[in-house]
Structure formats: C-alpha cells, structure tokens
C-alpha cells in the first residue's frame, strides 16, 4: 500500500513502513537539507539518530531526524534551504 505525504509542498508517495529518509531515497532524492552556515547539501549519514545530519521539519516539529521518523499519511516534510532556513 502506498502512503501519500507532502514533501516541500509536492504531493508524493512511498510504500508503508518507510522512514522519511527511506522515502526520500526511494523517490530518488538524497539531498535532505542545505546547511544553515554555507548552504551545503547534506543527506543521510549515520542512519541511527546520532549525527543529526538528516534534520528536517516534519509537520510542526523542527529539527526532526528523518532517519528516526516513519512517514504517516498526509505528513508535511520540509527541507531546510540554507542560510535563511528556519527549520534548523
């Protein structure tokens, strides 16, 4: 069964039981955010909630770890876009 959620304003789908990071990789998108300092791209790094490289805004929650969050129907996932970002 596919789950529908919203990634940076776009309606997208992933299989059920996927983490947010898994869904992004499944969709062919590996860049998770741009850093607040130099707007450099980041992605999955440690995969176990320690490094905090995959922080995203998930629903109202800022700095949520994409590797530790399962996609839920209708979830709104927003990636930080560099120096002006508020999601970090």
């Amino acid at each position: 069964m596919e789950i529908e959620f919203i990634l940076d304003g776009q309606v997208v789908h992933c299989p059920e039981g996927f983490t947010v990071i898994g869904a992004l990789f499944h969709l062919g998108r590996r860049v998770v955010r741009m850093t607040s300092g130099t707007a450099a791209p980041r992605s999955l790094f440690c995969g176990m909630g320690v490094c905090c490289d995959c922080l995203m805004q998930i629903n109202e929650r800022t700095s949520a770890r994409a590797c530790m969050t399962l996609v839920q129907p209708g979830m709104r996932v927003v990636s930080a876009r560099g120096a002006t970002a508020t999601a970090y």
Binding site: P15, T19, G22, G37, G47, R61
Partner: protein, 464 residues
Amino acid sequence: MNHSSIVIIGGGPAGMSAAIAAAKQGLSCTIVDEGFALGGQIYRKPTNPERAPIPHPRGEQLRTEIAKLTQYIEIRNGHSAWGIFDGLRVAVTSPDEHTELLQSQALILAPGAHELVPPFPGWTLPGVMTPGAAQSLIKTMGVAPGKRVMLAGTGPFLLAVACQLIDAGVHVVSVLEASSRPAWLRLPLHGFRTPEILVEGFLYLNKLHQSGVPVRYGRIVVSAQGESELNAVQHAPVNAEWFPDNNCIETERVDTLLVGYGFVPRNQLAQMAECKLEFCPEVGGWIPIRDRNLSTSVAGIFAAGDGAGVTGSLAAAHEGKLAGISAAFFLGAVDEATFTAARDSIEQKLSRLMPLRRALDKISTLQPGLMSLVRDDTLVCRCEEVTWGEAREAVCAGSTTYRSLKITSRAGMGACQGRFCWPFLSRLVAAEEKCSVTDIGPPSVRPPLGPITLGSLAPESLKN
C-alpha cells in the same frame, strides 16, 4: 512517575538479553529504545517486511523470548532517554512528545555504539555515509543507498554490509580495507576457538569473490568528490601507519561511499550519571569502568554491550544476560550461589569469543595516517561547519579542552554534541599539547542528549 525495578536503556542484543535474564528472576523491567522495534542496529526489524530481507534469526529469537515475558517487560520503542537525574532517574521522551522521569532500583545501560568516521575532504557530501546507515535502509525497507557503491574503512563489518548490498541487488564496486592482507590471513590462528565466526567471515569473502567484488587491502579513501552529491572517490595505498602514498592515487566513479573505521561506545548516559570512565582505544574510546558483575562505579548502574566497550553482538548478548542477573542479585532477587554459577558460565562463553575479537581489534587499530587526510578547508565539525584550519587555529591559540575549543571555534557545539568530531579533535589537541588522548578527556555531557522540543518538557496543563 513510573516505577519499574529495572530500567534498561537500549533494545539491542545487550538490552534484550538483560531484560530476559532479569524477568526470569521475576523482576519488572522497562526497556527504553529509540528504534521502531527491539533489535538495536544489528538486529533491526523490517518496518516494511515485504521489501526488506528476512531479519537475522538471532534477533528474531530474542524478540520471541521477550514476547513471552511481557508480563514482566514493558517495551518503550521510539522513546529517547536523554538525561539522568538524582541517581537513577532517567528522563525519557515518547514519540508523541511526552516526557517522563523513570524511577528504577537498578539501571542497565546498553546503548550500543555509533560508527567512527575520520574527517577527509568531501566527507559531508550526500552519498557519503556510514556502512550502518546503508544497512539501515536495506534491512528495514529494502531501499538501496545508491547505484554504484564503494565501501572503505576497516573491520569485518564492511564485508557483512557489502554482502547485504549484493543480496539487495546493489552494484558494489570494491571494498577497501585499510589494514594489510597478511594481518587478516593470520586471523585463524586466533579464532580456532570460534570456528563458526571464522566460517562466517570466509562466507562473506567467498560471496564477494563470487560476485566479482574486489577486497583491496592496505588502501584508504583520501577524498570524496562531487557538487551536490558524490560522484567520485580517490583512494590510495597506505603504509603500516596508514599514511597514503599520494603518488598512487586512483579515482573511481561511484555515487555512494560507505566509510567506517570501527565504532565509538555511546557513553553519554554513564558519564552523566557520574560513572567513572576510562579510555580504552582498542574497544572504541571512553567506556565506563566495570567490575566483574558489570556494575559501574555507581551502585545500581550496570553497563553491557558495545556501549561499554565494542566487542560485537555475540558478546553483547552474553554481557546483557550477565548485567540482567547481576542487577537481580543486587536487588536481592537471586541468591549468591545461583548468581555466581550463572556469572561463571557467562564468563566462560565470553572468554571463548575474546581471542578472535582482540585480534580483530588489533588489526583495526586506528593508525596516525588517517589523521593526515584533512586539509585546512575540510570540515571537522559537521554540525557547526567548522574547518580543520579554524579548529587548529583555536587549538594553537590555547583552546586545548573540549569546552574552550567549543566556545572559541564552535566545534562540538552542534546537534551531535561532539560525538562525530571529538574522536579526531581530541587527538589533534593531544598532538598539540604533547600529551595523551587520555589527558584530554571525553566531550562534556549535559541534558538533553538528543534533540527534544521545549513543548515535550511542558506540563500537561500547559499543553493545548
């Protein structure tokens, strides 16, 4: 406040085994674990079983045993333990952002370890990740980390992950092992008491050979290249101290690089509980000092598994069992004769594993050449984007403690709280101060140990 006789932090092989052992003595336990299901990193349970490969039978067996003991064992998955207060009270936040202080009579710390990655040019590029990160995608959802994958670092874990990638249909280009081939060929001399582990290693090598994946010994990755994502890796042969020969660099086009040089025990809760720590580089760094019963220096706090010194999943399960029965003995739920008999039996099983483990530790001992890869513009602190040049300048100007380096350069101030930068920055500081890493100390810890919201701390009456 919730009361359980024993609170166990971590639901991997150590934490699960501890819970089973304690529950069998009739004690109530609570397992606090950040994962979606029990298993830890090694025995991750698929979140999408249709796509993921069949989970490891040892993990399934532990989960089955736990399921039979649910009248004693409370499982809290998705919960973060982020602080220890007033002795044995653990602050825990649930996935729906409720925070509780768990009170226990005994605490078992089994938090596991995270991977060790040295800074090198390009290591922050998307596509560069730990072998464990790639494994997490495959094991839980059957998602590939990329299309053309190279693995680099040291230790048998690289071989295991390479085989899992092959099974998942991913193109593995090569495995680079930093240490030399002769060192690996001598392993059977140390592993004759554990032939089943040697066989496992041989099967990995055989699978890689059959799949045409070369394992190249004595080579390390010196840089990763790409614009918005990784597209190439440079690697070079190394000498005995892992200094690369820059005249022999090879460039390989890959979109994914999995790099891991071993593991770092997650010691933060032990440190916060003021357990005495010691520096043991051969098992990953700073670990809580433990007695024969796996008790830390703080009465009532026990530590087991990779979080108390990296010795692998088999040893972790034995240690967990010992910690569980030790905690039961500490609480008076088991008599001394039964306890010592159980301990002796577990110690025998552990000692059987140790010769091979120690030999592997020796092969994978970090060598100084690994520290030579950074350039002035290489980030050492991924979180705060602090370069090697900036960190070194701060150290040279006198910032030679974790605290002062953090204040002057911001290195270690970010969300990971120094977990990824400090293993290397502490060596830099030690080199500058001409002292040992032991004198430098672990990063200071303070709650919260992970990102939590202010809202999760608010009393229910303030929430709408």
